[in-house]
């Protein structure tokens, strides 16, 4: 797409936004410029706190509560949104500028049908009648290949899947045929297999209607598929901006290069010599949430050896986390048992001895809720020490310092802090230290990196790997991120709808011949190649064609 000949739609100059926290105003966005032409897609990328979302909503002339625009100009089609009246902006929003939020589930009103929410802005802005809106909605639903487009709009948000909801939201943003759509991480909450459908929908719509878009994401591979140009942000400042292909092949700045290199981490040593007897044996587990209800796990059976990392992968709802709940004893299985170090663990954690509890530790997905916000780091880490090991006084203090050094955090600086005073990555390190404090031999890592920025996640993976080598720990690594799996796992268990569909050593699973479902998963992971999505979609289309011809 050449951008030279097209007219300028949005021009942001020296944008300054400040936010209020800790009784002071802090500059969040420090003078960012960009220009967007009609029909062009600009990708904004950066880590959390870079100001991506703040800039995104500012493009609508809006500042989040506690923030204000304190400098610069935002010219949308000749109107300066910084100085425009609320009424002027109200007329623009929805009709000429639309917004697609990260979580469609949280952004739809659960009490109204999809099609009524679709029609709302059209009717509100007086751009059409209800009949016209309904007809348009059905046409758009068909256009984005929603199943049963004539009737799906009459469902409520909870009656469609997450991916369909996100696509319905994209269609909704399009209801007034806006000139500009802002996509704020629209696929972050979705599984990879669903993500590719949503991405295809968004790109199709943007091209079809010649809509300009700002695409905000932290996922480089995704932005590579979507954007014509990419702008890298850091700490509210622009790092660099150029056309997507140039940016991917020849990044100029060090920071951009470091972002690009993130996915390079690989486990350093080859798989260790395994002991003949497994440390943890998950033996033929079948589980339900309600007695006699539908099985959420069926005949799940695998082993984990000392010093080994086993990754459990699958989409949401595949039973990964439920497996962890059965192992920890939070969910009593209908059938099967957990054997740990040769002894059968009681099915209910309340019947397990302190020693048994000590051996199996867990690290959670969201470090914010996994540690008590009212406890100091000293108490969080000290409790397992005194509970399991009976450490007191200076022995305990000594061990605390060792633990902090293991997670590469300064004991003097951090031991007396509260969790709120730490960043997300630091909190996750504290969770790791808490697990280590128990001297376990087995740690369950439940999506430990998915709430973190890539650079921070990388640091966590390195740390886990290093600790494994030092302490000969066994990890069960639950994740939906296949890049992480390739980086850290010795063996992989692939789950689908509560069953294990494929398992084996990582290099076997991830090299041909693939299991059918594993191949679908693998091929859905975006790659840092701007042509990747076209290729995959074309491949899948031709396969479908071949299958149809076969029949």
């Amino acid at each position: 797409m050449n951008t030279e000949s097209k007219e300028v739609l949005l021009e942001v100059r020296n944008l300054q936004i400040e936010g209020f926290s800790e009784d002071r105003w802090h500059q969040i966005v420090k003078g960012v410029d960009f220009t967007l032409h009609r029909g062009e897609v600009l990708g904004l990328i950066g880590e959390s706190g870079a100001g991506k979302s703040t800039i995104g909503v500012a493009a609508m002339g809006y500042a989040k509560p506690g923030c204000r625009i304190n400098g610069g100009s935002i010219k949308f089609d000749g109107i300066d949104l910084v100085t425009a009246s609320d009424e002027q902006k109200r007329i623009l929003r929805g009709s000429r500028i639309a917004y697609v939020a990260q979580s469609a589930a949280a952004s739809f009103n659960p009490a109204h049908k999809l099609i009524d929410q679709f029609s709302e802005s059209l009717l509100e802005h007086g751009l059409g009648s209800r009949e016209q809106a309904y007809a348009d909605a059905k046409a758009l639903y068909a256009r984005i290949r929603m199943p049963d487009p004539d009737r799906i709009g009459f469902r409520y948000p909870h009656q469609v899947s997450g991916g369909q909801l996100q696509r319905a939201m994209t269609a909704m943003a399009l209801s007034c045929r806006p000139d500009l759509i802002i996509f704020d991480e629209p696929t972050t909450a979705l599984d990879v297999t669903t993500q590719i459908e949503v991405l295809a929908t968004i790109r199709d719509i943007v091209e079809q209607f010649n809509t300009a878009a700002i695409y905000i994401t932290h996922d480089l591979a995704v932005v590579a598929q979507m954007a014509d140009r990419i702008k890298v942000l850091r700490h509210g400042e622009s790092v660099e901006e150029s056309a997507t292909r140039t940016m991917l092949s020849h990044p100029r700045e060090e920071y951009t290069k470091s972002l690009w290199a993130v996915r390079s981490f690989r486990k350093t040593v080859a798989a260790p010599q395994l002991e003949p007897i497994a440390l943890v044996k998950i033996s033929d587990i079948t589980a339900t949430y309600a007695r006699g209800g539908q099985a959420v796990l069926s005949e799940v059976d695998f082993e984990i050896h000392r010093g080994e990392t086993v990754a459990v992968v699958g989409e949401s709802g595949s039973g990964k986390s439920t497996t962890a709940r059965v192992i920890t004893g939070l969910l009593r299985p209908e059938k099967g048992e957990i054997v740990f170090d040769g002894e059968v663990l009681p099915a209910d954690y309340r019947n397990r001895s302190l020693h048994q509890l000590q051996q199996v530790q867990m690290i959670y997905q969201r470090p914010d809720t996994a540690i008590n916000p009212r406890h100091k780091i000293r108490d969080i880490l000290g409790r397992p020490l005194s509970l399991y090991l009976g450490l007191r006084g200076s022995a305990r203090e000594q061990r605390l310092i060792e633990l902090m050094e293991m997670i590469e955090m300064n004991p003097k600086q951090f031991l007396d802090r509260l969790p709120d005073e730490l960043s997300g990555g630091q909190k996750q390190r504290i969770c790791i230290a808490r697990a280590l404090a128990a001297n376990p031999s087995f740690i369950i890592c439940d999506e430990v990196t998915s709430a973190l920025d890539q650079l921070v996640a990388e640091g966590i993976l390195r740390l886990l790997d290093q600790l494994q080598q030092e302490l000969n720990l066994a990890y069960m690594f639950i994740t939906h991120d296949l890049a992480t799996v390739k980086a850290i796992a010795d063996r992989v268990v692939v789950m689908l709808q509560g069953r294990i569909v494929d398992q084996g050593p990582t290099n076997e699973i991830f090299s041909p011949p693939y299991h059918e479902y594993t191949e679908l998963l693998l091929s859905s992971v975006p790659e840092m190649d701007p042509d990747w999505m076209d290729r995959i979609l074309a491949e899948r289309a031709s396969k479908m064609g071949m299958a149809a011809a076969d029949n």
Binding site: Y349, L357, A370, N372, E408, E421, S423, R434
Partner: protein, 295 residues
């Protein structure tokens, strides 16, 4: 190793001493909260030093009945010839003191039961919740009058009865806020660590629900205080000769027909404290709710 978050320090340093922080928070409080704090402080002072401040003894007969306000008896005398000002001052001690003890009792019982119901769940939660429903279904003033006439009107039974009835409200709120905390991963982590119920309740949950409970304490105190005063006014509360604002209103109520405003003084004492506490609670709730005004 190359996690950038490790090097960057978070937020300002915490060298500022606790007292200075407290002073700063108090100075930044809105005017209403400052007035409220001032009122509470004055009441506490009067309650603590009642014997030193009061001109006469608590139940000393010092003059004729219903004397008007003059230089000797600043607020006149009551129906038995006791000094009104002295009685008001001692009333701060009795009425407020009993109300505080009752509220604390209600919070300990209701709070403990509420947290336990939330953590344990299942049949225990059902049992406690239904018992509370039954107690709350009966209008509390009428119920407490009934119970007081059965068990007698001693200070102990007053505290136990009003405390128990108010504990039902505390139970509800502490159970509700605890339920929000119980679903957090750190509670699951504590359970899997092998922590006992007492540790989970006191160390893991209580610190996280302290703010709403503290705000509720202020409000609940007002209601307890008003209930005691109302019961005293009806003759079922704090018994003579103990000075108490509720019964003082009743004893001197007739004077209002003679354009003598003496009965309004103890009533005002009740009102002002209630308003003061509410001012402080409002401020506290606003601070802890995390609601920020849009700037």
């Amino acid at each position: 190793m190359n996690d950038p978050s490790i090097q960057s320090s978070t937020g300002p340093s915490f060298e500022v001493s606790k007292t200075r922080q407290l002073v700063r928070v108090l100075l930044q409080a809105p005017l209403s909260a400052k007035i409220g704090l001032f009122i509470i402080f004055v009441y506490i002072f009067v309650a603590l030093f009642a014997p030193l401040i009061a001109p006469f003894g608590e139940s000393e007969l010092v003059g004729r009945k219903y004397q008007v306000w003059d230089d000797e008896f600043l607020l006149g005398t009551d129906n038995l010839g006791r000094d009104m000002l002295t009685r008001i001052i001692y009333g701060a001690r009795n009425t407020v003191g009993i109300a505080v003890i009752t509220t604390v009792f209600a919070f300990v019982t209701g709070g403990v039961c509420g947290i336990i119901a939330a953590v344990v769940g299942g049949w225990l939660d059902q049992l406690l919740s239904r018992v509370v429903d039954v107690l709350m279904a009966i209008p509390s003033l009428i119920f407490s009058m009934l119970l007081l006439s059965i068990f007698g009107t001693s200070v102990i039974s007053l505290i136990l009865i009003i405390g128990t009835l108010d504990a039902t409200r505390v139970f509800r709120i502490s159970r509700a806020v605890s339920l929000n905390v119980v679903v957090m991963d750190f509670i699951e982590a504590a359970k899997l660590r092998g922590e006992k119920l007492a540790w989970i309740s006191v160390r893991e949950i209580l610190p996280n629900i302290a703010a709403p409970l503290a705000a509720e304490f202020g409000l609940r105190f007002c209601f307890v205080f008003l209930t005691i005063s109302a019961l005293s006014f009806l003759g079922l509360g704090i018994q003579p000769p103990t000075a108490d604002w509720g019964s003082m209103v009743r004893d001197t109520a007739d004077l209002i027909t003679f354009e003598d405003y003496t009965p309004l003084i103890p009533a005002a004492a009740i009102m002002i404290l209630t308003i003061g506490v509410n001012f402080v609670v409002d401020w506290f709730l606003h601070k802890t709710s995390g609601l920020k005004d849009e700037y």
